[in-house]
């Protein structure tokens, strides 16, 4: 088992045009390096899902790689709207984007259902809310004990889940800590998982109930220090807020966007992330 791979190999061997992929992370530990490698790989027609599609999904959508997006909150965290996503939804640029929209609670439960190998998740959700009327994947079930009508949503079962984490031990077991979002659920809901980590350590040496993903539940691990920049990795480096503010400007213009992507993504490699976080390390 060669779990440890260069990121380019990990992406090439696991992601394909037409794949259903989730790059998860809730503000913390966003897998930027893996997303940029995916952009460089040239694949297209991806279906993406995520609770909080943010800058990396804006970038992939703007590059025309995405045919469908399943999501619950599409924003530039702490800044505002996602302008490439807006352009796709409002103007079909650079291509039409099919969207399937849920609430956070529903998507979180959809991952959990996927991780639990169930076909659906149930929640007391969407009460009085408009999404029920426009999303055919929000159905309902009747509780056989109380008669209550509850919302039902299908499980998410992506082909591949991609996350960034603090570290792996030498056997490839991965520790995620701090704001853990739905990363564990996303990894376990997927057929394959790709993980980028800040470092490899001999032993994880952590709390007995820490969030650890065993090696055998992961397809591939790549060491990419700084791989979550400009988001942050708790214990390693801080969020680079200026990049999020800049993104608002860059993404507001189609040409500026393409120039920026060419220079900062297409012509770079994963090794650039370590430099980008140098001034942000604790």
């Amino acid at each position: 088992m060669s779990k440890f791979q260069p990121l380019s190999t990990a992406i090439k061997e696991n992601l394909f045009s037409g794949s259903f992929v989730v790059f998860e992370g809730f503000t913390h530990l966003i897998p930027y390096a893996a997303a940029h490698e995916t952009i460089r790989s040239g694949i297209t027609d991806l279906t993406l899902a995520r609770m909080t599609p943010d800058v990396i999904y804006d970038q992939m959508i703007g590059m025309g790689m995405v045919s469908k997006l399943i999501f619950s909150y599409a924003g530039n965290p702490g800044v505002g709207l996602l302008r490439r996503l807006r352009d796709a939804v409002e103007n079909d640029w650079p291509r039409p984007l099919v969207i399937e929209e849920h609430s956070h609670a529903a998507i979180a439960n959809s991952y959990e259902a996927g991780a639990s190998n169930l076909p659906l998740a149930i929640l007391r959700g969407y009460q009085g809310a408009g999404l029920k009327g426009i999303n055919a994947n929000i159905k309902s079930i009747e509780c056989p004990f109380t008669g209550e009508i509850l919302a039902a949503v299908p499980a998410l079962r992506p082909d591949v889940a991609v996350i960034h984490a603090q570290k792996a031990d030498s056997k490839g077991n991965v520790l995620v800590e701090g704001i853990i979002g739905v990363q564990k659920q996303a990894v376990l809901s997927a057929r394959k998982a790709i993980v980028t980590v800040e470092e490899i350590v001999p032993e994880l040496n952590t709390h007995p109930n820490a969030c650890i993903i065993p090696s055998w539940a992961i397809a591939s691990i790549s060491i990419v220090p700084g791989g979550a920049h400009p988001s942050y990795t708790q214990g390693y480096y801080e969020r680079d807020n200026s990049s999020y503010l800049e993104w608002d400007k860059i993404s507001s213009d189609r040409d500026a966007f393409r120039v920026w992507m060419q220079k900062n993504v297409l012509e770079q490699g994963p090794e650039v992330f370590n430099q980008r976080v140098e001034h942000l390390r604790d």
Binding site: T27, Y73, R86, A105, Q127, I134, I180, S243, L245, E246
Partner: protein, 260 residues
């Protein structure tokens, strides 16, 4: 002491929070109000951010819902699934804060689209946690600035349900929580009429006229028969709030000069 309309809005909301409240806090004004409350009248208040951080006490205001500061000052940080299932749906939240792109007189909220859903004029971020914050929090507080663009007669999309068309529509739908109980703006404090559930103004901020009010709101405003004038922020409240914001500015300016 002079104060801005933003400051009186944040202070007014903070005053209404209590030590035994468990707040589901959003970024921006709700976060400022909750942290101000924690530093003044409600030191034991419990603040929860939807990123999973329970019992946070950030020294500076977070930039995003998932800042590291929220986790490192939290009592504990749980998964997204646990947050929405055990803590929100579980009925443990006493006050959920919501903002809106569009709000109507019955506390219904739109943060999804301006225009038509299929072909929107403006695609907004969407609901995120809000649809269930609106139905599962024991009460909902809304903090937002008044403007004719956002205080509208009819919202374009029902992202998060308040009282629908008012009266008993909410409880008739089987929703057992109280819904929007407070609307704090830069001009006034509003509360729902107990019968119709339409928001009515219970206190005007000092200097705010009924004319100015009506210019900023897209429906004919109702005023409470017991209409009050809101108490201006005290010196202490303003100092604590400004300190908090200054600390926030200083802390966040540190990470502003990266070159990607």
């Amino acid at each position: 002491m002079n104060y801005s309309s933003y400051e009186i809005m944040v202070v007014s909301a903070a005053r209404l929070l209590r030590n035994d409240d468990v707040c589901f806090v959003g970024i921006g004004a709700p976060s400022a109000a909750c942290n101000l409350a924690k530093l003044t009248n409600a030191p034991d208040i419990t603040l929860i951010y939807e990123s999973g951080t329970i019992g946070t006490a950030p020294d500076v205001l977070p930039l995003s819902i998932g800042d590291g500061e929220l986790c490192s000052t939290a009592l504990t940080t749980v998964s997204g699934v646990e947050m929405f299932n055990y803590w929100l749906q579980g009925g443990r939240i006493t006050v959920g804060f919501l903002g809106a792109a569009q709000l109507d007189r019955f506390g219904n909220i739109n943060t999804t689209v301006i225009g038509n859903y299929e072909k929107p004029k403006v695609r907004l971020p969407g609901g995120g946690g809000a649809p269930e914050i609106a139905s599962h929090s024991k009460q909902v507080y809304i903090i937002m600035k008044q403007s004719p663009r956002s205080f509208v007669n009819k919202i374009d999309f029902f992202t998060s349900y308040g009282f629908g068309n008012g009266f008993n529509e909410r409880s008739d739908k089987g929703i057992q929580t109280k819904g929007p109980q407070l609307l704090v703006t830069d001009m006034a404090i509003w509360k729902p009429d107990p019968t119709t559930k339409e928001f009515e103004v219970v206190a005007l901020n000092p200097g705010v006229t009924r004319e100015a009010m009506q210019e900023s709101v897209g429906w004919p405003i109702r005023y409470s028969v017991t209409l009050d004038e809101n108490t201006p922020p005290t010196k202490l409240e303003l100092e604590v709030l400004r300190d908090l914001q200054e600390r926030t500015r200083t802390a966040h300016s540190k990470t502003r000069n990266s070159g990607q």
